[in-house]
Symmetry: C2
């Protein structure tokens, strides 16, 4: 199966799971559920769900073992986007080509829709009946690891430092802190959790964590390059948006060419770490190549 | 031990646990951790932790079994207060006699501090090592029940309807929906979870759920009465604040006297439901009497 078809297959399964797990718009309070669904189904790439599923399959797991986890990851990712876009934070009006949640539903509903998506993600991650093939101890550990990855020393920590640095002149170390925390930790949790739920061995988890760390940072470097070079269509947001806000990016600190080289190096490392997993990890390797291909 | 001393003992233990579980201010990002601690230690009554501990002890459990749960409940409660106080929601400047989080730290930090407290609560609720006396299945069920109680059809649902009703004329049914969801469900989760973690039997859990439902609503009716009659000192916020925002309350719908009678009826029901628990439930009964005593 070509990679694009594989991606689409997972997207469809995860979207079905999301549709099943999130209350229908008819369920009161309707406007809140409408806002939750609006942002969830606004055309995301489903990178984290794809990583979780591919990682599960790379250790021989069944896809159905991790689809609820994949859905929870997308809820968490969507909550971070809704809150990041708020006027008090990044103040973005457009996301994935559509009005952001607070523009469409008002600020109070956007804040609460984000809160509700985060909360629902944890209800799912602790739902034993959704993970009948996984031991309770493993499920608890994956849920705790996911929570830690998005907390005050994870995603939220990265977002805080990112906000503090607006207009300042951070160096590469600070930029790397921002990215490894703001986006890297949840990507790592997706890869790690997907395999752990499928019963991966410690050496497999270690290899996948190395993959997850490298692909997470590579993805962000590529995003920075695309922000400078990309067009609005492929990004769903204004190209040069980060520059306009004088946000520091990899290209602004080291130039586009060196940023490309860094991304390529990270991708090489990610692919190398997959070696012990053998042929089952081919999708993860393909995914890594796909990330770097976006920059050309 | 007098009730006040019992309360203080639990408060001290829970505050110690909170201090232990929340990253120190020195941990980066400092400002975020400072904001999380500021709201957590701003003089809350610790009602939910007290209920969880008393409920655990009412079924013969050891207090140490539930102190991490009690701490997580207070984090959740504090996150809801921080987000409720935001300009886009209730727009409150003062809480418990202190500037609210967004006044003190700015809106972006307040939003993220709330997010981080909610996330940390779930990291704790899924932390196996913190609950070594509880089976993993029970811990998962308590975490999932807690998440459900504060989600889009729980606390957040109540908050959404509350916001939608500002300036409108809801009837008693809508007001009861708001209160049972906005505050009632987490109070119920506190009572239910405290006992479940301690290994309560189904009939004990049922009795305690009945207690939790009644005390939760009674507490809110009493709060409404105090808002009309209380002074700033005992509330830590301006008396009449709800009235000023033309929020509908029990006294505004049924008068102060009938509100008092309703509260008394709910408290009687709460105490009656404790019968099967015997002498161990005396603290929960005392607590119910304490709630109603606040109105006189």
């Amino acid at each position: 199966m070509p990679l694009a078809a594989y991606f689409n297959e997972i997207r469809k399964e995860v979207d079905n799971k999301l549709d099943h797990l999130v209350p229908k718009i008819e369920t009161p309070p309707s406007r809140l559920h409408e806002a939750m669904r609006y942002s969830l189904f606004a055309g995301g790439k489903r990178l984290r769900p794809i990583l979780a599923v591919a990682s599960c399959e790379a250790v021989g797991g069944k896809r159905s073992t991790v689809t609820p986890f994949a859905a929870a990851l997308e809820m968490i990712h969507t909550y971070t986007l809704i809150h990041d876009d708020l006027p008090a934070l990044d103040n973005d009006d457009i996301r994935r080509g559509h009005p952001t949640s607070h523009v469409k539903f008002g600020e109070s509903t956007a804040i609460l829709a984000g809160d509700a998506l985060l909360t629902l993600a944890f209800e799912i991650l602790t739902g034993r009946r959704l993970f009948s093939e996984t031991p309770s101890e493993t499920l608890l550990d994956v849920a705790a690891m996911t929570a830690a990855s998005i907390g005050s020393t994870g995603t939220i920590g990265g977002q805080v430092v990112d906000l503090e640095m607006e207009g300042a002149e951070p160096d590469i170390a600070v930029l790397e802190y921002i990215h490894t925390h703001k986006t890297g930790k949840l990507i790592l949790a997706s890869v790690h959790g997907g395999a752990a739920l499928a019963g991966a061995e410690p050496d497999q988890l270690e290899a996948l964590s190395e993959y997850g760390r490298n692909i997470g940072l590579a993805f962000q470097v590529v995003d920075d390059i695309l922000d400078v070079e990309g067009d609005e269509k492929s990004l769903g947001k204004k190209a040069g948006a980060d520059l306009a806000k004088s946000k520091v990016t990899y290209p602004s600190l080291m130039g586009v060419e060196d940023s490309r080289k860094l991304a390529a190096r990270l991708i090489d490392r990610a692919i190398a770490s997959l070696e012990i997993l053998g042929a089952d990890a081919v999708r993860l390797a393909d995914l890594a190549k796909y990330v770097i291909a976006r920059t050309f």
